[in-house]
């Protein structure tokens, strides 16, 4: 290894010295989050205020980390919580266990559970780590509740439906890249990504 090699090596270092900086002053300043980021969950409502969750437990059933606990109950006939016979009576997510894989979102037949892009929530007790239904439910305005230990920035609550199917419904490959759900998901929607199937249309 000659002297020239060292100079060449430092050349790269000094060369980059004057490039634009890619690091940011986190947490004062935040970079834009990836479109496919999986963050803290929300439980959505319909426009009339009814809860979308029907307590079917498919999310709990599919959860690989066993972090979701759901129990259903008969909807009260005079004051139904959700449309249909059954509603989610208990809904808890244990964020000490959650790996944000989003399988719950895929499993949900009513699009009741979606994920926001929030990952900055630093609870300090086990109780705080277990989010109950009251905490996960969106407010009457359709926006997620902001708990004291969560670091929400302006406009971040717009993106509660930041998810994409990793698999196609019924395994039908032609669904890839298509929006196969209704447009009223949570609060704000976005176009599907392309480039997954490698087809001509991508």
């Amino acid at each position: 290894m000659g002297l020239l090699d060292s100079v060449r090596g430092f050349g790269l270092t000094f060369g980059k010295l004057f490039d634009e900086r890619v690091t940011t002053e986190y947490p004062a300043e935040k970079r834009e989050k990836s479109e496919r980021l999986h963050g803290r969950h929300v439980l959505n409502r319909y426009e009339d205020g009814m809860e979308k969750c029907i307590g079917c437990e498919l999310c709990a059933g599919v959860c690989p980390a066993n972090c979701i606990y759901v129990r259903g109950q008969d909807n009260p006939a005079d004051d139904p919580v959700s449309p249909g016979e059954r509603f989610g009576f208990v809904y808890e997510i244990n964020y000490l266990r959650c790996i944000h894989c989003d399988l719950c979102v895929e499993a949900c037949p009513t699009e009741a559970i979606t994920e926001s892009k929030l990952f900055e929530f630093s609870f300090t007790s086990r109780d705080d780590a277990i989010y109950t239904k009251d905490e996960l439910l969106v407010g009457d305005d359709g926006k997620p509740q902001q708990l004291p230990w969560e670091d929400w920035r302006d406009g971040e609550d717009q993106h509660t439906s930041a998810w994409m199917r990793a698999t196609a419904p019924s395994g039908d490959a032609s669904y890839e890249g298509r929006v196969a759900w209704a447009g009223e998901l949570g609060y704000g929607t976005r176009d599907p990504e392309v480039g997954q199937s490698g087809g001509d249309g991508d």
Binding site: D172, Y175, A180
Partner: protein, 466 residues
């Protein structure tokens, strides 16, 4: 009231020139009374039968090759021989639940000559050694029920029914049962269920036919009204005289109920097997042709459940076997004639709707399939059809009746006939019957279906998903 015209007192019946085996008394206005019956030879057949041994009566019926008139056309004499030996009691059940669309011959027989039916039933009971007979009359036939009830009372009073009939050892009780109104009860096992007080749903026949295990689990002979009405004449005149009429394989006469676009619709007693459709529909003694200014488009040769025939099939004889080979069936002898003004889609929908409403609900393919067919046809008819609907209809039909469905030949398009009967995924033939109009109509008039679909009035919103 001369020959060869409608009879005012027997609406629907045309008194044509020809041999009369079962409608002989129809010319009399009071043909349903015991007095008229006795005055015109009523119960002579029974008397004559009682002079002979039951076996010889059975032999006469077998020799006469009396074919069942309910639809299957099975020889009655052979059917009678199916009872397992040594199992008693046995029952005779008279199937008067005539409800095939287009059929109204049994109704006339029951209304106009109930004593002939009673006499026929008694002869059958005597031949088979039975002492209990059930007359199952369709729920909607109020006049027939009333006339049979009166006739039965008269016959009981006259010692013609009951214990020691005409002073002999023969004792037969005849019970009149009113149906509650269900097409499916015309199927013999469903009729037996209904008689037992259950919901009228067919039983699976193989391995056990009613002749082996029927009403209340006992051997039961189920015969059609017209079949039994033939018996008095056969006993009076002998098997040879009976076989002098009609063809060799289908002797005697048969009643045909013609309806639709002919000049003179009605019930005709026609020589079995020798007369052709053309003679019946166009003959001067019969229907006298299609109504003025129109031409034949299609006709149903054997009631709503039969595949359709077209002008090419007009020269077929009125006989079960050739009609079956040509892709349809004579069935219950109901001929529905449609001229060129008929909308094939609507006609098809009309027949399918009947079967959808009358399905008993037992077998899944029939219960769900017939009403699905109906909704699709309704949609096409309403101008809301979709491009794939025709193939879908045929595929649903295939799920009810797998394999090629019987249809008539279509020489113009080089299509051969598929002979009767169809295969089925259901217990009874009701489900497959609903397929008959669909396959017949689509095969011949596919363009009419396509025209309705392409000329749709409303464009549906594009379905979501690919």
């Amino acid at each position: 009231m001369g020959v060869n015209s409608y009879l005012a007192h027997a609406p629907g019946y045309v008194d044509n020139e020809g041999p009369k085996i079962v409608t002989g008394r129809f010319v009399h206005e009071d043909s349903h009374t015991l007095a008229r019956s006795l005055a015109t030879g009523g119960y002579d057949g029974l008397k004559r039968a009682l002079e002979q041994s039951p076996t010889s009566i059975h032999d006469i019926v077998r020799d006469a090759t009396l074919l069942g008139r309910g639809g299957a056309g099975f020889p009655a004499g052979v059917k009678w021989g199916f009872c397992p030996p040594g199992v008693w009691p046995r029952y005779l059940v008279v199937n008067g639940d005539e409800s095939e669309p287009g059929t109204y011959k049994d109704r006339l027989l029951m209304q106009r000559d109930p004593h002939q039916l009673i006499e026929g039933s008694l002869i059958a009971c005597y031949a088979l050694g039975l002492s209990q007979c059930f007359l199952y009359v369709r729920g909607e036939m109020a006049l027939a029920q009333e006339r049979i009830a009166i006739a039965l009372n008269e016959a009981y009073d006259a010692g013609l029914v009951g214990t020691n009939i005409l002073g002999t050892d023969l004792s037969v009780d005849i019970v009149l049962h009113w149906g509650a109104g269900a097409y499916i009860v015309g199927e013999e096992t469903a009729l037996i269920e209904s008689l037992e007080g259950n919901r009228g749903m067919p039983r699976l026949k193989p391995p056990f036919f009613p002749a082996a295990i029927g009403l209340y689990g006992k051997p039961t002979i189920v015969n059609n009204v017209e079949t039994l009405a033939n018996l008095p004449w056969i006993i009076n005149n002998g098997a040879a005289a009976y076989k002098a009429f009609g063809s060799e394989t289908s002797p005697g006469t048969r009643m045909f109920a013609v309806s639709g676009h002919v000049k003179r619709p009605g019930v005709y007693e026609v020589e079995h097997g020798t007369t052709t459709f053309r003679e019946l529909l166009y003959g001067d003694n019969y229907c006298q042709g299609i109504r003025a200014g129109h031409e034949l488009k299609m006709f149903i040769p054997g009631g709503g459940s039969a595949p359709w025939f077209f002008p090419e099939q007009l020269d077929l004889p009125l006989e079960a076997r050739p009609v079956g080979a040509a892709g349809s069936m004579l069935g219950s002898g109901a001929i529905v004639v449609m001229d060129e003004t008929t909308d094939a889609v609507k006609a098809c929908l009309r027949v399918v709707r009947f079967f959808a409403r009358e399905s008993c609900g037992k077998c899944t393919p029939c219960r769900e399939g017939t009403s699905w067919e109906e909704t699709i046809l309704q949609r096409i008819h309403d101008g809301l059809g979709r491009p794939g609907d025709i193939d879908m209809l045929l595929d649903i039909a295939d799920n009810i009746s797998p394999g090629p469905y019987p249809t008539a030949a279509d020489e113009a398009n080089g299509l051969d006939a598929v002979p009767f009967p169809p295969k089925q995924t259901t217990i009874c033939p009701l489900g497959p019957s609903s397929v008959a109009p669909i396959t017949s109509a689509i095969r011949r008039f596919r363009h009419e279906f396509e025209a309705k679909i392409t000329a749709r009035e409303l464009i549906p919103v594009e379905a979501t998903g690919p």
